[in-house]
């Protein structure tokens, strides 16, 4: 009986180990299936012209699969979103963790969390029917479906991520550090700016990275509000012109391509680029976070 029981425990542990490793297996499968279908493209199409091509005309003859306009579209929209959401997010996190009374903070936090729950297609819808017409009117544009609209919507979507992680980072600074500064006659703001923020910096950087990862991978919202013109955006005027991101390209075109065609594989290639980019961003955020935890515990 003892033998049987030990056997059973061992078996259970082994099973649990494999289930625990499932996420690794899935990640490997994603790489495998994504890259396999992507690499097929390069048997008929040059890798160089994919990476450096400035034109995305998949239905032209011969078809052109240039990544650059899509990549720049993604970068532009994401960059715009980060410019809006980082200052807003970090200052909001400061307010919640350093200035607001506990009562106010405990109301604000779940209220802002609502933003994290709203589906991206609803954001897209809101951007399309509310924000875009207003932007068109205010900025006197020919269409409201421009990069800026996407940036604003993405910024709102990235806010809860940035706020909650920054807030965690700021709150985890021991109060003794704050008290030390205040006791020397520094104002609240000086304490926040010179002591608390530097100490929380790596946590905040991780928050920004994760917000960026979220923004660059967002699909439905940008697809619905950025106009989807596959042209290389001008800098800086491209922000008020229509652009097309990598995510939107995949979502828009995948429904119409014959499975297994060159175009199909080109979309997988775009997906692979997207996957690698977000993978690196997440990895960086993870490493920063880990370093920062180590730093706090080490002292």
């Amino acid at each position: 009986m003892v033998f049987k029981r030990r056997h059973k425990e061992k078996l259970i542990e082994a099973t649990l180990f494999w289930i625990g490793s499932l996420t690794i297996i899935i990640l490997i499968l994603i790489c495998l299936f994504l890259f396999r279908d992507a690499l097929t493209l390069f048997s008929t199409h040059s890798f160089y012209s994919f990476v450096t091509g400035s034109l995305w005309y998949p239905t032209a003859d011969p078809p052109l699969y240039g990544l650059i306009p899509l990549l720049l579209g993604s970068v532009l929209v994401t960059f715009g979103a980060i410019c809006i959401s980082v200052p807003l997010g970090i200052t909001s996190a400061i307010y919640i963790s350093e200035i607001a009374s506990p009562r106010v903070a405990s109301f604000l936090k779940p209220f802002i969390e609502i933003l994290a729950g709203i589906p991206s297609v609803v954001y897209g819808f809101f951007g399309l029917v509310v924000l875009a017409p207003y932007l068109q009117l205010w900025l006197d544009l020919s269409t409201g479906q421009v990069a800026l609209t996407g940036s604003v919507m993405l910024a709102v979507m990235a806010l809860p991520t940035i706020i909650s992680i920054s807030e965690d980072a700021i709150s985890s600074i021991p109060s003794s550090i704050r008290e030390g500064s205040l006791a020397m006659g520094a104002t609240n703001w000086q304490t926040i700016y010179k002591v608390v923020l530097p100490a929380a910096l790596s946590g905040i950087s991780a928050a920004v990275m994760l917000g960026m990862g979220r923004a660059i991978g967002e699909t439905m919202t940008v697809m619905m509000v950025t106009g989807n013109a596959a042209v290389i955006p001008g800098m800086p005027e491209g922000i008020v012109e229509s652009v097309r991101t990598m995510t939107a390209t995949i979502a828009l075109e995948m429904g119409e391509v014959p499975i297994g065609s060159e175009h199909y594989h080109a979309l997988f290639a775009v997906g692979s680029v997207l996957f690698i980019m977000t993978f690196l961003i997440n990895l960086a955020a993870d490493i920063i976070k880990k370093k920062y935890r180590f730093k706090l515990e080490g002292s």
Binding site: E13, L16, F17, I19, G20, S21, L22, I24, I26, L27, L29, I30, F33, L34, R36, L88, T91, I99, P110, F111, I112, I114, L115, G117, I118, P119, S120, V121, V122, Y123, G124, F125, F126, L128, V129, V130, V156, L159, I163, T187, N188, W189, Q190, G213, R214, E218, T219, M220, T247, I250, A251, M254, L267, F268, L274, T278, N282, L283, A285, D286
Partner: protein, 286 residues
């Protein structure tokens, strides 16, 4: 100098106040537009009738049923694996390389764009496994998408179970698995349920992963098997808002659908919060 510092503080706090106000304003404006415009569209008939006249009239019944099928399917896929993976990580795994790699994989999976999951689902479930565009292919894709959420929240729930319970149980001569099964999991259950409910919200709202794995533009019936295509609320909203026959004319249906989506997600999240509050009291955790 003192006056200067005071002034700087005032200005800085002014900016901070303005910024939190902006954030709150965003939330209010979005909620206001969706709720005030969507509310008039809601009726019993809206929920229970088929779209009519090339989706220019009628309700959202098939999309609602489709979304519910996706929720059930993806939960069946994600819950057992997610919870057991969390059990492995929290109750069994020794700190070290393997655990670190798994945690890393979870983080990366959580950060992978949803459209990439769509591509993956297309390549693996639709094509490789030959399910075709179907409820099962989309459910499995969404199941993988929410797996990190289920694992993370289950881990948190397991962590909240005091170490003493485990010790006491082990000291009674109870094996580790029996301790986990009879002691730790029941105590962690409310937390696990909360997390799973949050992932329901995610499943209900995701669009990109189902685009290529089975969502139908229009289907005048509910899916009759798990290998059938389906309509889903978020895709329905997308279709009506961007490529419907009369985009302006069906605004009220669009707002109504958006509101239903919002209500599903927010409702589910509020239920999660209530459950957590109720059981926190009962179990005296924390």
């Amino acid at each position: 100098m003192n006056v200067n510092a005071k002034l700087t503080e005032k200005i800085a706090f002014g900016f901070i106040g303005a910024s939190i106000f902006t954030v709150v304003l965003f939330v209010c404006i979005i909620l206001y537009y969706i709720i005030s415009n969507g509310y008039p569209a809601l009726s019993w008939e809206f929920f229970t009738s088929m779209p009519r006249n090339r989706m220019m009239e009628g309700g959202i019944y098939p999309a609602l049923i489709g979304t519910i099928s996706l929720i059930i399917g993806s939960m069946l896929a994600a819950l057992p694996f997610g919870i057991l993976a969390a059990v492995y990580l929290n109750e069994y795994a020794k700190p070290g390389k393997i655990k670190w790699v798994i945690e890393m994989a979870i983080n990366n999976l959580a950060g992978t764009p949803s459209v990439v999951f769509g591509l993956f689902g297309l390549a693996l479930f639709v094509r490789y496994f030959g399910f075709g565009p179907s409820v099962i292919a989309a459910s499995l894709t969404l199941g993988i998408l929410v797996l990190p959420i289920v694992i993370r929240s289950s881990q948190e729930a397991l962590l909240a179970v005091p170490m003493e319970y485990r010790q006491a149980s082990l000291a009674l001569g109870v094996t580790r698995w029996q301790t986990t099964k009879s002691m730790v999991l029941p105590a962690a259950l409310p937390g696990i349920v909360t997390g799973s409910i949050l992932s329901i919200g995610r499943v209900a709202g995701e669009t990109a992963p189902i685009l290529f794995t089975g969502a139908a533009y229009f289907l005048p019936r509910v899916p009759n098997s798990i290998f059938d295509q389906f309509m889903a609320l978020p895709y329905h909203l997308y279709v009506l808002a961007t490529s419907g026959i009369d985009i302006e004319g069906t605004r009220h249906i669009q707002y109504g659908t958006a509101l239903v989506l919002l209500l599903v997600v927010l409702g589910v999240n509020s239920i999660a919060i209530l459950i957590r509050r109720h059981y926190k009291k009962k179990l005296r955790l924390n």
